[in-house]
Symmetry: C2
Subunit: 387 residues, 2 copies
């Protein structure tokens, strides 16, 4: 069943409490957040307007008390519908002062001189404001120390609440239904660009709010990479078609793929697909609290490369949630200890020769005792279309 849109205020209060507990432990007097997922995680502010790069948006999390939104006035009406009550606005874009003074005043209020203001600064983060405004901000508060957030956002967001897992389950089920209908849209002769368009239509018909990500490829025995947009090349008998989508339902992503043989597959394709499924299952089998991200990498890599240590993709899976990809990374160097509520993709890849690859991907959630599938795990046999 699809959960109701949004979350109750208790969800946000629980997030805030976890952030503030960590802030106390790490001596951060305030957090400054600037990106879409960070702002939404704390406030519930959900809009596609982030597609416009024009305006900066800020949320300040104080050591105690509720978050403060410092945002362009165009967002005031929508922010007022969240649980946030302290909303400070300026009319952006303002070429003289695009919110910098308003933000500096807010930070002065919540962070005394000498205290530390943390920003997400490590891997997979960026500061979504102009560099010149960032320099102005830090110069206008010389007696406060701007520093990293001690990975507080990373660690807090990595553990999903039951309400978040329910939304992710809905997104994955939606994608599952779309993948089950690919026979309707893909056959020899269909240009890949048409397959991509029609697959997005299937996702929307099955209940996606929008489809922020679709990549894939098609070719005899495999494809060249996994991040390409569609070409106009028609599907041909003997092709392997791969579609990898990140669709969104109520702000939460699915991220998995499916392979399809156009006509009977070769034995090599059958074997490659079976190995990918074996690899995925091997990672699933050891996925439980206490295992490490790197353990899942090695379980898959052992099967797909014989333990050679991975491929150009760089990793064999990652976190999933309000973003298509989130920490951790399934790589040898990531020793994140799995814990209940972590949602992960398992994404092994295999070299099929001649510069081609095949990949497979499923989504799972770590439970108290092991893991649950969020996407429907596929059987060894590759799906065959257009017979």
């Amino acid at each position: 069943m699809t959960p109701a849109r949004g979350f109750p205020e208790t969800e946000y209060r629980a997030r805030l409490s976890r952030l503030q507990t960590a802030m106390a432990a790490k001596d951060r007097t305030a957090l400054l957040l600037t990106t879409e997922p960070e702002v939404r995680y704390v406030t519930g502010f959900l809009t596609r307007f982030w597609e416009s790069p024009t305006r900066p948006w800020f949320v300040v999390v104080p050591a105690a008390g509720d978050p403060i939104a410092v945002i362009p006035s165009i967002g005031a009406h929508l922010m007022a519908q969240t649980w946030i009550t302290d909303i400070r606005t300026w009319r952006a874009p303002d070429y003289d002062d695009d919110g910098v003074t308003l933000l500096a005043d807010t930070l002065r209020e919540v962070a005394a001189p000498g205290s530390r203001i943390g920003l997400p600064s490590g891997g997979e983060t960026h500061l979504r404001m102009p560099l010149t405004d960032w320099q102005r901000l830090t110069q206008s508060l010389p007696d406060r120390s701007f520093t990293d957030d001690a990975d507080i956002l990373r660690h807090t967001r990595m553990i999903k609440s039951p309400a978040e897992v329910a939304k992710l389950r809905t997104a994955c089920a939606t994608a599952d239904r779309a993948f089950d209908r690919v026979a309707e849209i893909a056959r020899a002769g269909t240009p890949l660009s048409q397959v991509f368009r029609d697959f997005q239509i299937l996702c929307l018909e099955e209940g996606a709010d929008w489809v922020p990500y679709l990549a894939g490829g098609a070719g005899q025995g495999g494809y060249g990479d996994v991040i390409s947009p569609a070409t106009e090349t028609p599907l041909t008998t003997g092709d392997v078609l791969m579609l990898d989508t990140g669709l969104v339902v109520d702000g939460y992503f699915s991220d998995f793929d499916r392979n399809y043989a156009i006509g009977y597959p070769t034995q090599a394709t059958v074997a490659a697909h079976a190995a990918l499924i074996d690899a995925t299952q091997a990672a699933f089998d050891i996925a439980r609290p206490g295992a490490m991200a790197s353990d899942l990498f090695h379980a898959m890599d052992k099967i797909t490369t014989g333990g050679a240590g991975g491929s150009d993709a760089g990793r064999l899976g990652h976190g999933l949630g309000m973003q298509l990809t989130e920490p951790p990374s399934l790589i040898p160097a990531d020793h994140t200890v799995l814990a209940p509520g972590m949602v992960l993709t398992l994404e092994p890849g295999i070299d099929t020769g001649g510069g081609k690859i095949m990949v497979h991907e499923e989504n799972i959630v770590i439970t108290e005792t092991g893991a649950d599938w969020l996407s429907t795990p596929q059987s060894s046999g590759i799906r065959i279309l257009d017979l």
Copy 2:
């Protein structure tokens, strides 16, 4: 007619030449680019993989010679299909050194000690790499000066080539066709969330590659804001429905909206819509080389607010191209002089009382002698659905 996908190498060489001419004038020995549109503008690298925030991507533009891509190995295959030949990769994510050393070495090669490396740093820009990596990079090159890019990217990208205008014209025509079919999907009783889903399907059916942006609203006599996602509330007779989409064809956006009355509109709604059309036309009438962005603002604001100086939206239009919104801004403070090849949105808004507004939006291109519509200009009468 839809142009062929991509651009010939001559398009990229012309862009590079304009950038390097400006770099010489502004004494920038190299440009460092990190965001999707910047990277694509120089290389043609088109992928939806930017949806994943995990990996940083870099392009270095030297004072002379071709651009250098410094990118994760997962992108090597796709980048090799562009005109770029100098492609340097690392296997990301790398927790010890996520491309910083490779990038620093590249910058050392193209920028001698004492020279200036420019980054887009002003309004509407951000640095898409972790702040800690940025600090590492600048510290590892203490004898080079990292500075702003003197707005070189802003000014260069603002003038679209004829090939770019052709792509924008295709995107706008695609959205026009989708808007013409809204009667098929919206009637009293349809939940707004279903209208949003079905409208994205129309966009895809009409030829959009994907639909990165859809916002809108519906309500009696107007809507509360223009950036909200859909609610589950059904349309009701007497509502004004507004849909504002940014769809993409071959990497270029449309960005305009349409209003629809669900059943016969009130006289107030008719009058508000007519005023919005008048305002749009007034701006179009003075849009020509030599006019300023601020002139277009005032032409519209005179009609919609009697010259009060705008609204919470902050601006009455903006540039359009590889992004949903680009410079310039139609605000009083933007004195950008219009020139042939600039593509703009005209986006007046009007207060309809009771905390509600209506907005209208069209897309235009500045020509040698005036302006051309890219979207089909609407007549004063609001479209009526569900009679």
